[in-house]
Amino acid sequence: MNTALPALVPALPALGAAATFATGRRAPRFARPLAIVPVVLSGVLALVTALQLGTGRTLDAATRLTPTGGPDISLAIHLDGYTSLVTVLVGLVASCVQIYSTAYLRDDPRYPSYAALVSLFTAAMFLVVYSGDLIVLLVGWEVMGICSYFLIGHHWETADARSASLKAFLVTKLGDVPFLFGLFLLGADAGTFRISGVLAAAADGRLAHPTLIALLLLAGVAGKSAQFPLHSWLPDAMAGPTPVSALIHAATMVAAGIYLVARLLPVFLLSGAALVVLAVMAAVTMIGSALCALAQDDIKRVLAYSTVGQLGYMAGALAAGDREAAVFHLVSHGAFKALLFLSAGVLIHAAHTNSLSAMSRMPWLAERVPDARWTLGIGLVALVGLPPFSGFFSKEAVFTAAEHAARGEALTNGVGPASGVPEAAGWIVLIAAGLTVLLTAAYATRLWLLAFPGRRAVALAGAVVPRGEAAEGHAAALADTGEDLPVAASSTATAPSVHATEPAAMRWPLWVLAIPAMGFGVAGLRPNWLPALLDGGSLRPSLATAVLGTGLALAGVLISYAAWRTVTARAARAAVAEGAPAPQSTDATDPGRALLGPLYGPAQHGFGVDRLYERLFVLPTVGAAKLVRFLDREVVEGYVQASGGGARLLGWAVRRAQTGNAQTYLSALLAGVVLIAVFVAVGT
């Protein structure tokens, strides 16, 4: 097969982006086709490329870009099963997001630039996936970073968006600096920047500093994929438009770090320490983010923390040495998380708020957005990992990998020696993953219950309130809260009539994404299909872990539901006891508070990581800046002003001499002449 087709895949969205940038201001009506067509086309091309490549084959093509002093940099393409899988996912999600965005940002005056940036972002992601050269990969990597910066800051009128975009940029760059050094070290050790060359060097054991390289690269991966301790940008990045969250922060950019480690896994396998670090990182990320997600009120932040946690799963799979599982989970997660975000977007679009507690007071919401309700449910189930949804299978693959690694027989699938994976890493990942399954189920249930309380909440309230007064009380509650929620004030009676207001372009991408979210996991069952595309290892869930995982998930769901029932009933009773119409406050019906107890407060604020960072980095930096400012203003400027003042004083003295009186000048002149004459005479 020729290389033109894969080359076109990143080129098309890039050209589309350039065209949109060029014409967006003058001809905004071309923006939509220019945004959708290239992305969809390149998605189709990616699919075609993947089909042409088939299974088990790889393609390497390279053009040397320019001779350099050190290792050459070449325009290289590397195609294999992983790239096929990830590009298809990217193409699918990007197409859905572009289509969805046309409706979501219909009235946005900056839509052209938004669409162009999304296209450019897509192109960069394709480049990262296809690239066979580390430097070219870095180019795509950084382009993604800057596009992410712009897209998070799309609503730059708000302070949140500005600070979030800056934070995302700075934190990811913080990771990128060691990442760059890691790449250089890798290239220097291997003598080439070609990935194939690097992998060959790793296989031959020619890498002199594998641990150092792995740790440096991990920093970049942690930044990009939002792993602890560089995860804090991702929840804040939810200030961007929801489709962007779906695209960037669920399916693609954050996956880039995982994808890179998967590509360079042989290098990591050379260093057990790096794998343990990765495992610890993944474990902390998983548990911490799950706890945080349980305490969030903003639906998008819940999803963001869940993303962080799922990325922790992938990192854990990599720490266990099984990149197959990691990429499997990456793809399935990409699908269901994009679905979740887009559904949440519809929900937000309809409710005009991000707040879960506010949604919980809109019982009509479920009727108004049935598509979103269903797809959100599908996505949540996939997230929890109940069979037979995709999340179950991919998560079981991770569990299996961790279990094997814990037993010392890691499923490296021939990428490296199984002994390269320390057992500790396996154990850490296994235990953390188990705990996280429980927590994930809990917060997913909480999300669902809070977003769609539906008739159950009314029924619960009605159990304690006399029947006749139930509807009346509910209506009164609505009217009572209606002051700060104008949409809610339209009351239950009007809600069904506006059913069709969500545009079709926002609804049907949900269903498109729902299909892989439900069915993709089955692909892992066929040994000669998906595994063949990857490394060829088994992706079947083992019985023990499957039972364990499902059990934990069900337990989480049940615990969460029980907590919810308890608190809702208690709140209703309290309302009756006070004799007033029940004010259904946020805290009262939130099962998360009951479940977390004292941890609720810290978890709501991300365990104070941001505050810690502020103490550790921001304050010293500000202090140093103040010091520098002081030095500049008072010390350096002092010299400048002193020289200026000195010159002025000198000038004042000199201008005193310029009286305009010719005789004075002449006197000085002649006196000088006499002096010179005397000196010359005496000197000779």
Binding site: Q663, T664, S667, A671, V674, A677, V678, A681
Partner: protein, 216 residues
């Protein structure tokens, strides 16, 4: 060097300063008069007197020229300086309303500095000159500066500078005429839309002043 050798007077002279010749005595006396007149001329507070003392000084210098056998130069000195330059100076003083009697502000505030500089210059120059020419002797032959000799050298050797000088004089003549011409006709009409201060300050006075100033 050949000229110096021709002078032949660089050798130590036998003549002493204590046995002056008659010419030397006259020269020194007239020189004292010239110097005194010059000092009064630059020192007096009566402006016109200064010009008249200048006449004395310049006339004395003409005599010194005669004593140095430069006859033609002496008469030119009388003709040009006494006959023209001083007359012009007096003319200028009178046109600038020089008062009769002492002018308290004849000297500027710079006078002490000026005195210092002048004394320093005098000291330096006299020291230098005395040191250099203590023993030099001038052989005053007759006829060295007669009109025929001077004229011959002027029109044979120095004719080109002489002609150049005539151009200079013409230029000076034209310049003086242009400078002293009445400016009244030269005032441009005020352009529309542009404010002007009115007539130049000197215009009214220029009309009164005599238009008879001419270069001799």
């Amino acid at each position: 060097m050949s000229i110096l050798a021709a002078a032949g007077s660089l050798a130590p002279a036998t003549r002493g300063f204590l046995s002056p010749t008659g010419v030397e005595i006259v020269f020194v006396l007239v020189g004292l008069a010239v110097l005194g007149a010059a000092v009064i001329s630059v020192g007096t507070k009566q402006l016109v007197h200064a010009a008249l003392w200048l006449v004395v000084a310049l006339g004395g210098l003409a005599i010194e020229f005669l004593l140095l056998t430069a006859e033609f130069v002496a008469w030119v000195q009388v003709l040009i300086y006494l006959g023209s330059v001083v007359v012009l100076v007096l003319f200028g003083l009178m046109l600038t309303k020089a008062p009769i009697g002492r002018s308290p502000d004849a000297d500027s505030g710079n006078r002490w500095v000026a005195l210092l500089v002048a004394l320093a210059a005098a000291g330096t120059l006299v020291t230098l000159v005395v040191d250099a020419f203590r023993t030099s002797w001038i052989d005053l032959g007759s006829g060295g500066g007669s009109a025929s000799v001077t004229g011959a050298s002027l029109f044979r050797t120095w004719v080109l500078p002489f002609e150049a000088l005539s151009v200079l004089l013409l230029a000076a003549l034209v310049g003086a005429i242009v400078l002293s011409r009445s400016r009244q006709a030269a005032v441009p009409k005020p352009r529309p839309g542009k404010l002007r201060a009115g007539k130049p300050v000197g215009a009214a006075r220029a009309a009164k002043s005599p238009s008879s100033e001419r270069e001799s």
